[in-house]
Symmetry: C2
Subunit: 438 residues, 2 copies
């Protein structure tokens, strides 16, 4: 009805319609990790690479290379804004004031995303690499993923009429709200903590914003936050998330011998607990296999608040953590489990009911909240809008290959001979292959 | 995103947000009937009354009386606009040019909706009566219904947040599109003609507009028109509909004796075919019972193109018409059946498949296209948005009571002694009671 001509005309003038419009449009854990990297590994160089695990989707044919370059270039023009840095400095995160130190914030002030290296590969994919200081390349992870993810969605929608788009979003809204209604029922039964982890593989920025509003409106206090810093700032929500595989992967790559390699995942935890405390002490145990990680963990690891199983079936991974705590005399009801690997409404319900009363459970809901458009396209052509398994992982540190084994053999990354060496060092009897969830 | 402050501020200035904004926002058949009334019964006085058959919904408690008065008053300020009259004069309706004669259009130029008489009744309903010349009161039917219907929907939505409204409409859109997808499948199987008959009991004007666009977009040529004259004009669609019960009811009320009464429904047809032709010759046989109407019909009635069963179960009513045509040697494949009584996706599918190849079928889809919000409210409180059986019927003509028997005893209207007399004259062995559909 109401058309704002000025806004419309202003939009005409955009060279592109930018996907990432602020450096805060990223996951909160990047800042926690970055502060650690700046403190402990300021000179380490790390290369990140974008990997599309869904090989059947040939991104090089779906996304226009120039559009991708334009979006990446635009992200490089961004700087942290004064008001954003003031908020990072003044806001309370995880109940802690001034979690980010002045020298770190000063350093952020001049931050710019480093250069990227893009080429199309012969199998129809893109090779997208970020080389440079770890403290700089690390911040590419989320915007790079969000850009590729949204460009793919835009390409899928290019031929749709205004009306088809209207139906598409109506269906997607109805679908998400249907899930939220089920969560409301679940919340009646007992404690429920849901947060949005869906920035990286979102359908689009505006859509994620809608999803976050929907979760806020529908779940109230059961929606405990978003990993997206910009949205947390704008909506007055908690920014959530702690750490990722890149920490043990880089520490491991830099290890000088097998003993140091075996210790690397625990060294990450030692460094982390020097800097952070309380609910921020959530470990990610699966980089080189969860079972060996727990079996070989030093006793002080039991003091950590929580654990985020990430590559076993969620209930199995969580049960393993509970059994480990119990074996060592810890009460799981005082511990926190964060489930965030490919969760969706069915698995959320299942996990919440399974663990009720036994442990504090928190669900990091990702791609299936911010990019579930299955059966939503009015022409029935849903495949182009179906989320894919896209990751941006560290591939090397100071020129040495980075390796992940994971609990799921399909998620292992690194050169074959290095994977073999890591398997020898960490043992590989606990690994199995699982289908990849988005 | 884009907020047009000027539009927003302009809207602040409205005393009310008008529901009916043009006299063309009505059903096309009113104009066809009105031209006949003007020609044959210019001095007849007829009173129309609004009746809520869904007694469980106490409209007098749901809708604010002053708001209702404001909307009715606003409708009375409307006049036909020059561009509207030019379109009525110049457009082709049902393949006929200049269907509306210059003297009729001249008369419309000065038309104003006559006064209304509103009071709240003790059982929590409104009594809303329109007294005056038939040629004036008749045009109240559709705007009065649309106003009450939309005011009820607005009342139901009053407490909803912007977000709840967003979800509500997303769900309603997804729901309608789901029906349209089923109709697309149906259209693959054979001929399908759907038109929108949903003005009178619509959720709201803007919503009907969206529904009409959805039908256009989704069904293409299988969507053959809308009864709403304004929307037909704006969207370049066919305006559809022919005649209603008010014609035989007024003719019957004015009949001087039983013989004239028995002939009244056929006199309507005689007068109609003097003025109209071709596909406009669609009879409505159920006012005093379909079975007796067909049994006693003069032979020339067989020449009419089509028939609109309106109060028997649709397949039963349509089969009766087909049997009647066949009994008299007419090929039903050259005839038209219009089904428009409470149709929804299931009954549309059933009827289309049942009659395929046997008769030309056209579906007038009403309340279940423009007002189906069942299971759409995000708070689960759907009852306030569920459509009700609201009608605006002629109750007397020149001071004599108007009577309808219908094929469904639950739809009979008129004083008991008059119903008894009509039953005696027309016979009542064929009537039965059916649940009321919206």
């Amino acid at each position: 009805m109401s058309l704002d001509i000025a806004t419309r005309v202003y939009n005409h003038g955009f060279r592109i319609d930018p996907i990432v419009r602020t450096l805060l449009d990223t996951d909160f854990y990047k800042f926690l990790m970055l502060q650690l990297i700046r403190a402990k590994s300021p000179d380490v160089r790390a290369t990140f690479g974008l990997i599309n695990r869904t090989k059947s989707v040939r991104l090089g044919e779906v996304i226009d290379e120039q559009e991708l370059r334009d979006q990446l270039d635009h992200a490089r023009t961004l700087r942290f804004q004064k008001n954003e840095l003031i908020w990072l400095a003044g806001n309370t995160f995880y109940g802690v004031k001034q979690i980010f130190k002045p020298d770190f914030l000063d350093w952020l002030e001049d931050f710019q995303l480093p250069e990227y290296d893009l080429r199309r590969t012969e199998d129809g994919q893109y090779e997208l690499l970020f080389e440079g200081l770890w403290a700089e390349t690390t911040l590419w992870e989320v915007p790079a993923l969000a850009i590729v993810s949204e460009l793919r969605a835009r390409a899928a929608m290019k031929g749709m009429s205004r009306f088809e788009l209207d139906v598409l979003y109506a269906k997607a809204k109805a679908k998400l709200w249907g899930k939220i209604e089920r969560l409301r029922v679940l919340a009646q039964e007992g404690p429920l903590k849901i947060s949005d982890f869906g920035t990286r593989r979102r359908h689009g920025y505006l859509w994620q914003k809608w999803c976050v509003e929907a979760l806020q409106e529908g779940l109230g206090d059961n929606f405990v936050g978003t990993s997206n810093v910009k949205m947390a700032m704008a909506a007055g929500l908690e920014a959530v998330g702690t750490n990722a595989h890149e920490l043990p992967m880089v520490y491991a790559a830099l290890a000088e011998n097998d003993e140091a390699l075996r210790d690397a995942p625990y060294q990450v935890l030692r460094d982390w607990q020097e800097m952070y405390d309380g609910n921020l002490l959530v470990m990610l145990p699966d980089t080189y296999g969860t079972t060996q990680f727990l079996r070989n963990a030093p006793d002080w690891v039991l003091n950590w608040k929580g654990l985020r199983p990430d590559s076993k079936p969620p209930i199995e991974g969580a049960e393993e953590a509970i059994a480990w705590w119990q074996l060592h005399g810890c009460d799981p009801r005082e511990k926190l489990l964060v489930l965030s690997d490919g969760m969706d409404i069915d698995t959320i319900e299942e996990a919440a009911r399974h663990f009720r009363g036994r442990v504090n459970l928190s669900i990091g809901w990702g791609t299936n909240v911010t990019n579930d458009f299955r059966h939503c396209a009015p022409d029935g052509k849903d495949d182009r809008l179906q989320a894919i398994s896209l990751v941006c992982k560290v591939v090397s540190a100071n020129g040495r290959p980075a390796v992940k084994l994971s609990d799921n053999a399909n998620k292992a990354t690194g050169p074959a001979e290095e994977i073999a060496r890591y398997r020898r060092v960490f043992g590989h009897q606990d690994l199995m292959a699982q289908p990849l969830l988005v």
